[in-house]
Structures are given as structure tokens and as C-alpha cells.
């Protein structure tokens, strides 16, 4: 595990799902929120930009640190996740609470394995809530950004100046923001109007946040208006468009295949082989699927270089009405394998990638499983069934009865 820790490469991922309501509008409303929601105008401590938290991320978690009740909750409080209980939020970006979930198990007699919580995601610094910089990565993997500077506003523009204008172009001024532009039911801005950029994410033209990195591309995506939800019945399909991997590369440049020959390709067309595998893959040993129903929210893909909002919005659903898999021109991105905030697995991967089998005996593993196979420590890896299941956003185990890594969704080596 330790050797893997030092040699394994974390692909870049982004902080995406922050601060927006599950409905059409929210507190931020696509742009700068009410000043008093974050700033203490007349009684702030010095050196805090009139913020009232100990740091920027603590100020954010002040509102976003809760479980379940609303989509904008992305940090489960410690009090709600005792040992064996997973973080409760299921947003596409993941719950930062996974950073607090460390695991220890004995895969075989005399051998103890462990997995620190900090391996599960982006280690934002939020002192008030016990979130600290990574002790493993002093700089961003594949980059030089100081890890102690990582905060919510490294990726999100807390003031939300970036906007999508009526013609579909992005700018930091030019028309007032009338609402969020993140959702499949977001309003289309008329002439003289604008909507906010996806998730208030930074992009071309917006200033640098904590960590000092300036983004040179736009993160094009659309999310269903309700998304902090169980995926047991139907998936939450986020439509990712152009720019995802390039955007992540702002802080993780050497993780981008354009800059390195030793990392997994990103922002490259799947091509006929990988797209074909994706569409036919159902699970280990089962390649009988079709493109009409092959979409899997655990392994999303980028819709080629799409920037058109309407095209993306048509794919962003939660009712299962759009289940089509990728075409050959669709692309692999960082978020195909990683979540933006955090996951239940090491390297913030979307699935358990630290062992041979992610499901056994037809079920998700867990130390408390009724299956004598699935409860074995080498499969459970310190987790309860509830924790494993929640790490897959409650997705029903629908793969092979002895399922191997979901790398095989595109590569079909199993």
C-alpha cells in the first residue's frame, strides 16, 4: 500500500460541486451572494478580508457543512458519521467528509493495512472544521501549487464573477447575472443578461484564488437541478462538455497527457475500441451491452468538445431517460475516474481501485456483510457495507458477481 502510495499517480480533478441549491436558484444565484452571508462588515478580525471564519474554507463550510437536507451540502459534520457510518451527501463532486474516514484492516494474518482519510480527496484547509493540508503532497500532484493554500476558492470563484452571456460566450462582466447557469432547467439569458458559470468555477478571465493559479479555460458542464440524491434507482447524469481536463491541469499540469507521456490520456477521443468497450460492458465477463443503455454515472465521460448549453442540458437527467453511452469522439477526462471533492476510496477514485475485486459474491463488500466472502477483510478493506455502498452513491451492485476494477469499462480486460 505504501509503495503504491508513493508511485501511484493522482490524476487531476477539480473542485466542482459547491454551494448551489438543488433547485433552480440558490443563495449564490449564480453570482455574488448576499455580502452578509460571508462577511462581517463591521466586526471582523484583522487580515481576514472581513470574513468571519478562521479561513476561507471554514467560512464556506459554515453553510455547506451539513448532511442530506439540501443539495448544497457537501461536507458531512463529524458528528453525523461515527465509525462505520459513511458521509451522507451524494453530490457528483463527492462529500469532503470522506477525508475524515480512515480505515485499517488485516487482509491476512500478520499483515495490517491502512488508508488515511486524507488520501480520499482534495485536502482543503478549514481549521474550524478540522480539515488540514495534505501531509503526503506538499504541492499539488503534477504541479507546484502549495498544498497549504488549497481552499474552496482555489477552484470556485466565491464572488462568482464569471458569467455566460446571452450569446453563450463567457466573460467576467458585460451583463448582470440573473441566476445560476449550472442546471438543466437554468434560465437562458436574454440579450443584456447573463447567468453564472457552472458551479461558480473559475475560468478564463477570472482572477486567481487561493494558491494563485489562473485558469485559462472554461469548465463546460450542466447538472440536473436535483443531484444530492441516492443513485439506487436511476443515475445522476452530469453532462460534461469541453475543457474539463485542461481546467484541472491548471493546478496539475504534469498530470495532463498533453504534457506527459507517462500518464493516462485525458481530453482525448475514446476512439472505436474504448467507446465500443464502454458500450458493450456490463460487468466482468459480460460484454453484451448496447450503446443505448450503457451510460454509467460511476464512469462518466466528456461530450467531445461541446460548449452548447442546450446540448449539454438535454443530457443532464436523473430519471434515466438518457442512458446512451459515448460515441467514438467523446472523451476521457479526469472526472471519468476521480470525483472533484472526495470519494470513499484512495486517490479519490470513483471506485475501489486498490484491490483485484470491487464486488464479490454478487454484493458490495463490507465487514458486516451477510456474505461470508464479502465480509472478508481483504475485500471489505475496513469498510462497512453502508460505507462501501455510499461510496458508490448507493448504486445497486449491478456489475459482475465477482467484479474487477471499473477501468475495464473502457478497457475490457476482464
Amino acid at each position: 500500500m505504501k509503495s503504491l502510495k508513493t508511485s501511484f499517480v493522482i490524476l487531476a480533478a477539480v473542485l466542482i460541486t459547491f454551494g448551489l441549491s438543488g433547485k433552480a436558484f440558490a443563495f449564490h444565484s449564480g453570482g455574488v451572494a448576499e455580502c452578509m452571508g460571508c462577511h462581517n462588515i463591521h466586526d471582523a478580525k484583522p487580515d481576514t478580508a472581513l470574513l468571519a471564519g478562521s479561513d476561507i474554507s471554514s467560512t464556506c463550510i459554515n453553510c455547506h457543512g451539513a448532511t442530506g437536507a439540501s443539495s448544497y451540502h457537501i461536507v458531512t459534520p463529524d458528528a453525523d458519521m461515527p465509525a462505520g457510518t459513511p458521509p451522507g451527501n451524494r453530490t457528483p463532486g463527492g462529500d469532503f467528509g470522506w477525508l475524515k474516514k480512515s480505515y485499517t484492516w488485516v487482509p491476512r494474518t500478520g499483515t495490517t493495512s491502512s488508508e488515511a482519510g486524507e488520501e480520499h480527496g482534495h485536502n482543503i484547509v478549514a481549521v474550524d472544521f478540522g480539515y488540514a493540508a495534505s501531509t503526503e503532497n506538499t504541492t499539488a500532484p503534477g504541479g507546484d501549487m502549495d498544498s497549504t493554500q488549497l481552499a474552496c476558492n482555489s477552484c470556485h470563484d466565491n464572488h462568482g464573477k464569471l458569467r455566460r452571456l446571452s450569446g453563450g460566450t463567457f466573460a467576467t462582466t458585460g451583463a448582470p447575472i440573473i441566476a445560476s447557469g449550472s442546471y438543466n432547467n437554468s434560465v437562458i439569458p436574454a440579450a443584456g443578461q447573463a447567468v453564472g458559470a457552472y458551479r461558480l468555477l473559475r475560468g478564463t478571465g477570472s482572477s486567481a484564488g487561493s494558491g494563485g493559479k489562473t485558469f485559462l479555460t472554461i469548465f463546460n458542464a450542466v447538472v440536473p437541478s436535483t443531484y444530492n440524491r441516492s443513485e439506487a434507482t436511476t443515475p445522476t447524469r452530469v453532462a460534461y462538455g469541453a475543457g474539463i481536463a485542461d481546467w484541472c491541469a491548471t493546478c496539475h499540469p504534469d498530470m495532463h497527457s498533453a504534457n506527459s507521456s507517462v500518464t493516462h490520456p485525458v481530453n482525448e477521443n475514446l476512439g472505436s475500441t474504448e467507446a465500443g468497450n464502454y458500450n458493450s460492458y456490463i460487468g466482468s465477463g459480460n460484454l453484451t451491452g448496447t450503446s443505448a443503455t450503457s451510460y454509467d454515472s460511476i464512469i462518466p465521460f466528456q461530450m467531445d468538445t461541446t460548449t452548447d448549453f442546450a446540448t449539454l442540458a438535454a443530457k443532464a437527467v436523473i430519471d434515466g431517460s438518457v442512458s446512451t453511452g459515448p460515441s467514438t469522439s467523446d472523451r476521457v477526462m479526469c472526472l471519468s475516474c476521480h470525483r472533484a471533492h472526495a470519494t470513499g476510496f484512495a486517490r479519490m477514485t470513483r471506485w475501489q481501485n486498490e484491490g483485484e475485486l470491487i464486488a464479490v459474491d454478487g454484493v458490495w463488500p463490507g465487514s458486516d456483510s451477510a456474505s461470508t466472502v464479502a465480509s472478508q477483510a481483504k475485500y471489505a478493506m475496513g469498510r462497512t457495507v453502508a460505507e462501501t455502498t455510499k461510496a458508490y452513491n448507493d448504486t445497486t451492485m449491478h456489475y459482475g458477481s465477482y467484479q474487477r476494477s471499473l477501468c475495464n469499462k473502457c478497457h475490457a480486460k476482464d
Partner: protein, 327 residues
């Protein structure tokens, strides 16, 4: 359950030791300092943080329950319930060996039994325990009308023989008798005519309590407003955004004392604002800081019938207790 006799004996011994220690502490410690004074009729002094023999509770945003009949305070954190005497020292704990899962809230019933609310997001359980925390049975809310059948409560209050179950997400409240038989239901979002109905905004309830007269108090931070719903379903609200005393930044817990004064935690400014029963601003308790008597991101508040206010905080600062005085 063969460990119960040991628990009882341990608890008695624990109580004796704690009482002695606390008596000595009171005798030999300096008087608590006043943290905030206001000429409008209320002031408060910091007493202590809820503690065990290792120091103050190192918890972030624990939940608080009060048993005013027995002068005991409960702190809920994860799957553990810790009980404190009137001097703020832990005297008992239970839960972690029961395998119940995350305990969201509790209510100490009139007979001393404890009702635990276990919330698993899509489902919940109500576990009735004896005073030692030993599970005795599970109860269900009976005769629930269809309009409330889908709610999954994550808050629980007990006042004057009635249980209040609150689903902060759907903003619905069900009131039952102490056995869980439905008596009344409230759709707070509909009653309050939240702006979300007009603009699609999702406004969460964060703070909720019931005062001694049966009024429901709740806060909606995104609206910068606090509400009081009387038993006859008359709704009143107060508050507006701002960062001067008496205004709201990001509000959270809310509670009332026997005089009808209302206490509202402001998480962003790290203070607790005090209003009279007519919503007139009276005072602000404490200020942001890491020293004893200061607050870091307060969340829950509770007030007992001895005029003590309990405030849960972030940054692993547990629960601070203040004594409220009339000025």
C-alpha cells in the same frame, strides 16, 4: 446486558467523585468573568465547557439535549450520548456499544426514559431506552396522515408531554403524544410562505426548538430570519441581514428561556444574539475567539430553567455554558 449492574455502580461512584471535584473547583476557583453586558436587561457570564476528567469535550458541532427535571445535560455526537451533571461534568455515557448508528437527536421523556432518533437519510428509527440508555423497544409514529408520511425527521424535541419530530429538509413538523400517536402536523414552508415558492430558492431550516409555551422557534439562514410559530399556527418572524449587533449573518440554533427571551446563534459572527419576546434586540453574548468564554462558529443553543445557555461550537470546542442574569 449483564453489564448493567456494573454501570449502575460505576455511575454512583462516578457521581460521588465528580461532585467532590466540582465542589472543590467551585470553592477554589475565581469567579467567572462577565463576557458581555448590555443595559437592556440581560447579561451573561461564562461558566465552563462541558467536560470529563480529561478536559473539555473535543467535539465540533455536537447536539445538545436537556433534562430540566433532573438537571442533566446530554451531548450527542455520532453514536455516543454523553450525560453531564449540573456542574458540567460527565457522569455517564452510552451508545457506542449498541450499534444503533448515527444518533441524530434525543428526548428525555417525563418518566426518565430516553427516546433516541436514529437518522439514516432515507429512513429513521425511534429507539426507546431506559434511563441507563439500554434499548427497550422501538416505537413508530402512529396515525400519520399521508401529507407527512414521507418525512424523515432529523430533529426531536419534547415539551409538555408532546414530542415534536422535525424534518429539516421538507420543513415539516409532526407533533405526537409521548407514545408517538399523531396529534398535529405543520408544513413550515407553506406556513411561512418562503420565498422559494416565488423564486425557486431552497431555504433550509437549521435551528429548531420548542419553548415552554409550545411555540416553535426556527431559523432560516438564507433568509436571514428567525420565526416563531404559536400553537394556533400564528407565525411571526424577525431579523434582517447585517453584521452589526442585532442583525443576522449566518444564523443557526435558536432557543428561548422562561421569560420568553429568544437566543439566536450567529455562526458567521460567532455570537449569540438575545431578543425579548417582542423580538426587540437586547444583547449579544460573547464574541469570536479561542479563549474561554469566546465562541468559534456556534451552532446549537439550548437554555435550561436555571437560566443557563448551552452553546455548541466548531473547532473541537464542544459545548460552552453561560449563566444568564437579568441586568
Amino acid at each position: 446486558m449483564d453489564f448493567i449492574p456494573n454501570r449502575i455502580a460505576g455511575r454512583i461512584l462516578h457521581l460521588a467523585v465528580v461532585s467532590t471535584v466540582c465542589l472543590l473547583a467551585v470553592v477554589f476557583s475565581p469567579s467567572p468573568s462577565l463576557t458581555q453586558v448590555n443595559a437592556e436587561g440581560v447579561k451573561a457570564s461564562y461558566l465552563y465547557g462541558l467536560s470529563d476528567f480529561t478536559g473539555s469535550l473535543p467535539y465540533t458541532w455536537p447536539k445538545i439535549g436537556l433534562d430540566e427535571t433532573r438537571n442533566e445535560t446530554y451531548v450527542i455526537y455520532g453514536d455516543i450520548v454523553r450525560m453531564f451533571d449540573e456542574n458540567g461534568m460527565e457522569v455517564y455515557r452510552f451508545g457506542e456499544d449498541l450499534g444503533l448508528g448515527p444518533i441524530s437527536d434525543l428526548a428525555v421523556l417525563g418518566d426518565g426514559n430516553i427516546l433516541l432518533l436514529i437518522n439514516r437519510l432515507e429512513s429513521y428509527e425511534l429507539v426507546l431506552c431506559d434511563f441507563r440508555g439500554t434499548p427497550a423497544s422501538k416505537i413508530k409514529i402512529e396515525n400519520l396522515p399521508p401529507a407527512f408520511s414521507g418525512m424523515v425527521p432529523n430533529r426531536l424535541c419534547f415539551r409538555q408531554g408532546r414530542l415534536y419530530f422535525v424534518d429539516l429538509g421538507t420543513k415539516k413538523v409532526v407533533v405526537t403524544d409521548s407514545k408517538g400517536i399523531f396529534q398535529d402536523g405543520y408544513d413550515l414552508a407553506a406556513l411561512a410562505d418562503f420565498e422559494e415558492k416565488k423564486a425557486g430558492v431552497q431555504n433550509d431550516i437549521v435551528g429548531f426548538s420548542v419553548d415552554s409555551k409550545g411555540n416553535m422557534l426556527f431559523t432560516v439562514p438564507t433568509l436571514f430570519r428567525a420565526f416563531r410559530l404559536s400553537p394556533d399556527k400564528t407565525l411571526a418572524s424577525f431579523g434582517s441581514s447585517g453584521s452589526i449587533p442585532g442583525k443576522f449573518n449566518v444564523i443557526a440554533g435558536i432557543a428561548s428561556d422562561d421569560q420568553g427571551r429568544i437566543y439566536v446563534a450567529d455562526s458567521l459572527r460567532s455570537v449569540v444574539a438575545v431578543f425579548d419576546k417582542d423580538f426587540k434586540f437586547l444583547a449579544e453574548l460573547s464574541s469570536r475567539g479561542f479563549k474561554p468564554g469566546e465562541l468559534i462558529v456556534p451552532k446549537e443553543v439550548a437554555v435550561d430553567n436555571k437560566g443557563r445557555i448551552y452553546i455548541s461550537q466548531a473547532a473541537q470546542r464542544g459545548v460552552s455554558v453561560f449563566q444568564i442574569f437579568d441586568n
